[in-house]
């Protein structure tokens, strides 16, 4: 066996085949139910609106978010040539966590700026809280890098002693 390659195994059993057919059939039925429900409860011009949002969703993810993630990741690897990969991974992790919070909280900031329907809806200052969240993530990321550097240097010393 070539290293890193495994001969394909049971990819085509009769049981596998049966399960796949049942799943596919059930899936098609459910999609059809969804389509019928949509057609019966939503006006045609509104369904066009749904289609536009579908297209927007694909474009925003596939043409904006995913390429941005790729470019930022590649830029960081180039800029951080001398930085240990684990440190780079920790920093990238911090950026990803902060970004996910940003995606969830920014619409909340917009909604609040447009005016909440009453004082019990969106009661917080979400912009301030998001900014504090970024700060907290930055501090925790720095701490994690520090802990990693400390552990790595201790391990280095130990292995040097063992050799010496």
């Amino acid at each position: 066996m070539k290293s890193g390659v495994m001969k394909s195994g049971a990819r085509t059993g009769s049981r596998m085949r049966a399960v796949r057919i049942v799943l596919a059939a059930a899936g098609v039925v459910l999609i059809a139910v969804g389509a019928v429900v949509m057609q019966q409860t939503v006006a045609p011009n509104r369904i066009v609106g749904v289609a536009i949002w579908f297209a927007l969703a694909i474009v925003v993810h596939d043409a904006i978010i995913a390429p941005l993630v790729f470019v930022v990741g590649t830029l960081m690897r180039r800029a951080g040539r001398r930085i240990p990969p684990a440190v780079l991974a920790i920093i990238q992790g911090g950026i990803v966590v902060a970004s996910i919070f940003t995606i969830i909280v920014v619409p909340e900031i917009v909604a609040k700026s447009l005016g909440a329907r009453n004082a019990t809806v969106l009661p917080f200052d979400y912009g301030l809280r998001l900014a504090i969240m970024w700060g907290v993530v930055a501090v925790l990321t720095a701490l994690a890098v520090g802990v990693y550097a400390f552990l790595a240097s201790r391990q280095n010393q130990r292995s040097r002693k063992a050799q010496g």
């Binding site: 596998m16 993810h61 969830i104 809280r129």
Partner: protein, 413 residues
């Protein structure tokens, strides 16, 4: 074109983009989707029951739980879906783009699956912020898309089942050194041969000369990052639904304890246009069964035996809060017009208009001893924002069905 696609796939390849990771994330995401689907159906049918449906009034916080889980699992889908899409992104650049009719169906169904999933969780989240920037009705589309999503999930699993079973277990996925063990048919594309000139070549060289990743570090970092993000978004928002996380509630659109009588509200008295009618001395609660009817004013209601219950207000938007209510037991009240055990009630509010001005209540709720026509909340006279002079409170029902500013209660014939 083919070379461009292959180059894209090669450029995008990273250790964390592999079938094992896609399987692990797929399992988590599918679980979250199925939880959302189940709790969503429950919420839907509570509000629009089919004629034969009966619901349990126990546990009294049942809806608080199911809808809290619905919204929280939906929020957890954000990191999970983004991570899942990350692991499979290079598949977008398959060469050739379409191999045969089956392959076309697979790719088309994936497109619908991804688009519907993104639209569903994004509109669901923003709906809880009470902001509606889309050109379609939320409730109907959210409901219809849930079937499309679960259906295309089943189709997706049908297509990917061999890969899912192959990479289900860790020991079949990685060797002793931690390197991914791929089947022959899953091998990444060979380098597109030949030197590429022009802009593409420049870009590819720029990407290729970036330092390589260490597979184990890259994979572990990815899993830890997504795990942290998922735990953090849940922990910092779920306090709106689950009391034990209340002190961590940083980003939820609701906070328990904020509002008149320390309880949040949705529809205001002003929006419902009841500012005058609700405080009018002419207000009467009308009870009716067939030809028998009875009008009670506020003082007469107050003179009847008062009961105290602890029941949550649980909104379809996910927030909920337990409160203490005092008022007249509904079935005792309706006995005055000859209520029968199997009777279904129609509740009408003073509201001038609104989707929930008139609602029905099945016999399981009517007969429950904790269902009250409430006159007091948390030890004070019901605030007008909470439905003064009288509102319904029943166990295990969505907030929209806990009719405020009651006007009539009648038996459906």
């Amino acid at each position: 074109m083919r070379r461009l696609l292959l180059n894209m796939q090669r450029a995008l390849a990273t250790p964390s983009r592999n079938p094992r990771m896609a399987t692990v994330l797929g399992r988590l995401l599918a679980t979250a989707f199925i939880i959302c689907f189940g709790t969503g159906l429950y919420s839907h049918f509570l509000q629009q029951p089919l004629p034969w449906m009966h619901f349990s009034t126990w546990p009294p916080n049942g809806y608080q739980l199911t809808q809290g889980i619905h919204i929280t699992a939906g929020i957890a889908c954000f990191p999970l879906l983004l991570a899942k899409l990350y692991t499979i992104y290079p598949q977008l650049f398959q060469a050739p783009p379409v191999r045969n009719i089956l392959h076309f169906i697979e790719r088309a169904s994936i497109t619908i699956f991804v688009a519907a999933s993104i639209v569903e969780i994004v509109t669901g989240l923003i709906n809880t912020y009470q902001w509606y920037p889309w050109p379609f009705p939320f409730k109907q589309v959210h409901f219809a898309l849930s079937f499309v999503i679960i259906g295309s999930l089943a189709v997706h699993i049908a297509f990917k089942l061999p890969i899912i079973t192959r990479y289900w277990r860790k020991k079949n996925s990685y060797d002793e050194s931690g390197a991914l063990v791929l089947d022959e048919e899953d091998q990444p594309p060979e380098n597109a041969s030949g030197r590429v000139g022009g802009l593409t070549g420049t870009v590819m060289r720029w990407i290729d000369t970036a330092p390589p990743r260490e597979p184990a570090v890259s994979r572990r970092g990815f899993i830890v990052t997504i795990g942290t993000a998922a735990v953090a978004v849940v922990a910092l928002t779920a306090g709106q639904s689950f009391r034990f996380l209340d002190s961590l509630n940083v980003f939820a659109p609701r906070r328990s304890g904020i509002g008149p009588d320390d309880l949040p509200i949705n529809r205001t008295a002003k929006a419902a246009q009841v500012l005058e009618s609700a405080i009018s001395p002419d207000w009467r609660l009308t009870l009716r069964r067939g030809d028998v009817s009875k009008d009670l004013d506020y003082r007469q209601l107050k003179a009847l035996q008062q009961r105290e219950v602890q029941l949550p207000i649980a909104c379809v938007e996910g927030w909920s809060q337990l409160a203490t209510w005092r008022g007249v037991r509904l079935r005792d009240l309706m006995a005055e017009v000859g209520l029968q055990p199997g009777d279904t009630l129609k509740l009408t509010s003073l509201e001038v208009r609104g989707g929930y001005r008139m609602t029905t209540m099945g016999p399981e709720y009517v007969q429950d001893p904790t269902t009250l026509v409430a006159l007091e909340l948390n030890g004070a006279v019901l605030d007008i924002e909470h439905g003064y002079p009288a509102r319904m409170i029943a166990p295990g029902r969505p907030g929209v069905l806990q009719t405020k500013w009651l006007r009539t209660i009648e038996v459906v014939s």
